[in-house]
């Protein structure tokens, strides 16, 4: 059975799972990792990993200003803003 350190994974993923939800998530993850462990049966020695299906390098464009950021329009989506700033709880006391 896979060794799942759920509190560690939750810290990395910024999720808070407790009680029954944590138990279910751990059980599911164990089954999922057991399933993906089928990969280990395939010999991949010397195989180059494939990150992009067309194998192409990222395209570059000329270094020119092509759009202006419309701060007001984007900040209209935010849960809390003030004077053009995003508001979050105080970080430094």
């Amino acid at each position: 059975m896979a060794d799942i350190d759920l509190p560690h994974l939750c810290r990395l993923a910024q999720l808070a799972l407790d009680g029954a939800e944590a138990d279910a998530a751990r059980a599911d993850l164990e089954r999922i990792i057991d399933m993906v462990d089928r990969m280990q049966a395939f010999d991949t020695d010397g195989v180059e990993p494939l990150a992009h299906p067309l194998g192409t390098a990222a395209r570059l464009r000329p270094d020119e200003v092509t759009e202006q950021v419309d701060r007001d329009r984007f900040q209209a989506l935010a849960p809390a803003v003030q004077d053009g700033m995003y508001l979050v709880p105080r970080v430094v006391e």
């Binding site: 939800e21 089954r31 990969m39 395939f42 990993p49 494939l50 992009h52 395209r59 329009r73």
Partner: protein, 487 residues
């Protein structure tokens, strides 16, 4: 207005002024209203917006500047951003999200004059094979409301199957167009990775996500695909692929292939099928009588596809979904005690169980000590899976396979077993990992429920895929069957 009227007839009726786009749009909006309670295929329907678009289309039709899609109603999977209409992605996280811009695919369809009826229901963040993971409730299969429509584009597939829209967009990361197309008895195409711009498509797994379309036939899907596809400088992975054939499709009928293709049958895809492979065998015979030649091909790494897919898709999802932090947009928890608490509670409240599972799977695969054994291993297997296809396409033009192991399953059957749910994607994930164009076409029934066949082509081989599907549909009438309750 009759539902299920062929697209070409709708376009002709609009051009000849037999009916207006407003009348056509109104008739589909009425059908959506009549069936929304049972099917739940739409998350948002904005009648005023649709009718305003229809009026603009009528204006264009009167001026003689119409395209093949001007005035034709379409529905968009709620993963595509639409300015001025909310884009939820099936998630509580984005339940009130108003995108500040249109997805390129939407903008292109709008520019062609298509009329947006609304936004269709989907598995949250496109993660699922049953449409049971939506914050807005499950979608019912029009052939049997107790069964799932497939996922993640379940709302789009069900809407086309029930005649609530002639066309609907979808996205396919590991089968999310093809599997619901098969379960709902409609035609659906996932183009080559990079063919349709991902700009404005809410990201799930960026190296796999690809937009496509559902329609009643290959010919109709091709008309919409021609408009949606093409290079887009706003998507850094958009393919700079000029294809005069595709762009010139318009409303002309898809021709049969100039030369009947040689089609490969991968034996790995024919084991354990619900109907014992009978529907596929009939399809093979039909295509053979139409001139196609069949040979066996070997895709030996097929069994590695599901594990490799769930590692790669999970890893990319855990990265992509890190943007949902409750700060700039999306759900924010009440009264956060600290920045950390804001992040954690906003994400925990905003995401559903399956999305959390995928994020945790991806986080596991990318974490120190597991990266090589899982993520890198999956990427190597992805190379071997792609190599299998490239080798097969050395001797065949296309590959014929089932889309799914069986018909639509009852709602609730697999919800407690994510691993069993993932196995549903066994025949669709390989083409996704390889970035190949693939489509699902109705090919028969088992116990009164539709079955789909899958045609897979080489990169940018949509022409052979679509033309062969059209050839098959000239010789069969499975794609013209409709669920009784909606006929």
């Amino acid at each position: 207005m009759q539902p299920f009227t062929p697209l070409a007839e709708l376009a002709r009726g609009l051009r000849d002024r037999e009916f207006s786009s407003r009348e056509l749009t109104r008739s589909f909006l009425d059908r959506i209203r009549d069936h929304s309670a049972t099917l739940n295929c739409f998350i948002t329907v904005d009648e005023d917006r649709a009718l305003a678009q229809a009026d603009a289309a009528d204006q264009r039709l009167a001026e003689g500047s119409a395209t093949a899609l001007t005035g034709i109603p379409i529905a968009h999977k709620d993963v595509f951003c639409t300015a001025g209409q909310r884009t939820t992605c099936g998630s509580r996280m984005l339940a009130n999200f108003q995108a500040p811009y249109d997805a390129t695919a939407v903008a292109r369809l709008d520019a062609a004059g298509a009329v947006t009826l609304g936004k269709t229901n989907m598995d949250e963040f496109a993660m699922g094979s049953s449409n049971e993971n939506s914050h807005f409730g499950p979608v019912a299969n029009p052939w049997d409301p107790a069964r799932v429509p497939g996922g993640s584009s379940g709302g789009s597939a069900a809407a086309v199957a029930a005649g609530l829209t002639p066309l609907a967009t979808g996205t396919d990361t590991g089968g999310s167009i093809r599997q619901p197309a098969a379960f709902c008895g409609v035609t659906g195409i996932k183009p080559t990775y990079g063919r349709v711009s991902r700009y404005g498509m809410v990201a799930f797994a960026s190296s796999l996500d690809q937009g496509g379309v559902f329609a009643a036939s290959a010919a109709e899907a091709a008309v919409a695909l021609a408009v949606m596809s093409g290079f887009d400088p706003l998507d850094s992975t958009s393919a700079d692929q000029v294809d005069p054939w595709l762009n010139g499709l318009g409303d002309s009928h898809l021709a049969a292939p100039a030369e009947a293709p040689v089609i490969g049958l991968p034996r790995q895809y024919f084991e354990g099928l619900q109907d014992g492979g009978a529907a596929l065998e009939d399809a093979r015979r039909t295509l053979e009588e139409a001139g196609c030649r069949f040979v066996d091909v070997d895709l030996p790494h097929t069994d590695a596809a599901i594990p490799a897919y769930y590692i790669i898709a999970g890893a990319e999802a855990s990265t992509n979904l890190s943007r949902y932090d409750g700060v700039r947009f999306g759900h924010r928890c009440e009264n956060p005690r600290s920045l950390e608490d804001l992040y954690r509670r906003s994400r925990t409240e905003g995401f559903g169980a399956e999305v959390k599972r995928r994020i945790l799977t991806g986080t596991y695969a990318l974490s120190v000590g597991y990266f090589d054994a899982y993520y890198l291993k999956a990427q190597k297997l992805r190379r071997l899976i792609q190599n299998d296809f490239l080798a097969a396409f050395g001797s065949v033009d296309l590959i014929l396979a089932p889309t799914t192991p069986g018909t639509a399953f009852p709602q609730g059957d697999l919800t407690d077993d994510p691993v069993a749910m993932y196995q549903q994607d066994i025949f669709t994930t390989p083409a996704s990992l390889a970035g190949l164009p693939a489509m699902s076409v109705p090919c028969g029934f088992a116990d009164g429920l539709p079955l789909g066949l899958q045609l897979i082509g080489p990169h940018f081989g949509e022409r052979a895929v679509l033309e062969t599907a059209a050839l098959y549909q000239q010789h069969t009438d499975w794609h013209t069957r409709h669920p009784e309750a909606y006929a």
